[in-house]
């Protein structure tokens, strides 16, 4: 099977983006005292009240604003989905439910959790990385 979109290996762009993500995590902890975990922020923006809801909505608005800025100044960015809408519904439900059940996703566990050497985050990251690698390879090569 060769009908998957190929992407170039861009270590410098990766490092630069990673540094911004790391800076965001540090700044949110320094100012609001919170861990920038996107699954927790998204869920809390829907289920919490008052300030607990508002700071999360502000963070999400910032994420959307980043995308809008990219469209305005640089004409957008590629989002090339590789599976159909049926698969994306299943993927979305699993990402949403699983990240809440496991108390975090790639940001909260994978970046912030690993950075503070949290045992739970190290275990969670090893599990979701392995599960993702196995799943992608099964779908693409079976």
């Amino acid at each position: 099977m060769d009908n998957w979109t190929t992407t170039p290996f861009e270590p410098w762009a990766g490092l630069a983006g990673g540094i911004l993500i790391g800076a965001s995590v540090v700044l949110l902890l320094l100012t609001l005292g919170r861990i920038a975990g996107i699954s927790g922020i998204s869920a809390g923006a829907m289920t919490k009240q008052g300030f607990e809801r508002h700071w999360r909505l502000a963070f999400l608005a910032g994420i959307i604003l980043a995308a809008i800025m990219y469209f305005v100044f640089w004409g957008g960015f590629p989002v090339e989905t590789q599976v159909g809408p049926g698969w994306l519904i299943i993927a979305g439900l699993m990402v949403g439910f699983g990240s809440r059940l496991g108390s975090g996703c790639t940001s909260g566990h994978g970046v912030a959790g690993l950075s503070r050497l949290s045992k739970r985050s190290i275990v969670a990251t090893l599990i979701f990385m392995s599960a993702a690698v196995v799943t992608t390879n099964l779908i693409r090569h079976l």
Binding site: S24, T31, F77, Q82, G96, S107, K119, M129, I139
Partner: protein, 140 residues
Amino acid sequence: MKALVTSLFCGLLFGLGLIISGMSNPARVLNFLDWSANWDATLAFVMGGAIAIAAPGIYWVRKQGSPLFADKFDIPTSTTVDKKLIFGAAIFGIGWGIGGFCPGPGLVAVATLQSDVIIFVIAMLAGMLIHHWFQSKSSD
């Protein structure tokens, strides 16, 4: 107000980081997860760069006593690896491996207004609400 503006700025930095690194493109994420001929290792550099900043940054911030706009740090303290963590991470990982979207990239990509990305994000938010509903039912 200061807290909300800072939070918005943090979200902006985070979103820009996702786009610059190409994590907003599920093709790139899946090409990291798929260890075949066209392997794209960029994601490892994103995590490496983020941790290189966050690890010393978090260490330094926690020595500051308290955050600037809040009374205290709100950092998870549990060290128990339970079934919820294991199954949750596994379910999340499978979903990530199917679509190539985790929550941050899904939210940043939704601004393209591509119908399949909107479908993914609605399903993701629904999955979170389903979890919330189960959790509030089991704690009744």
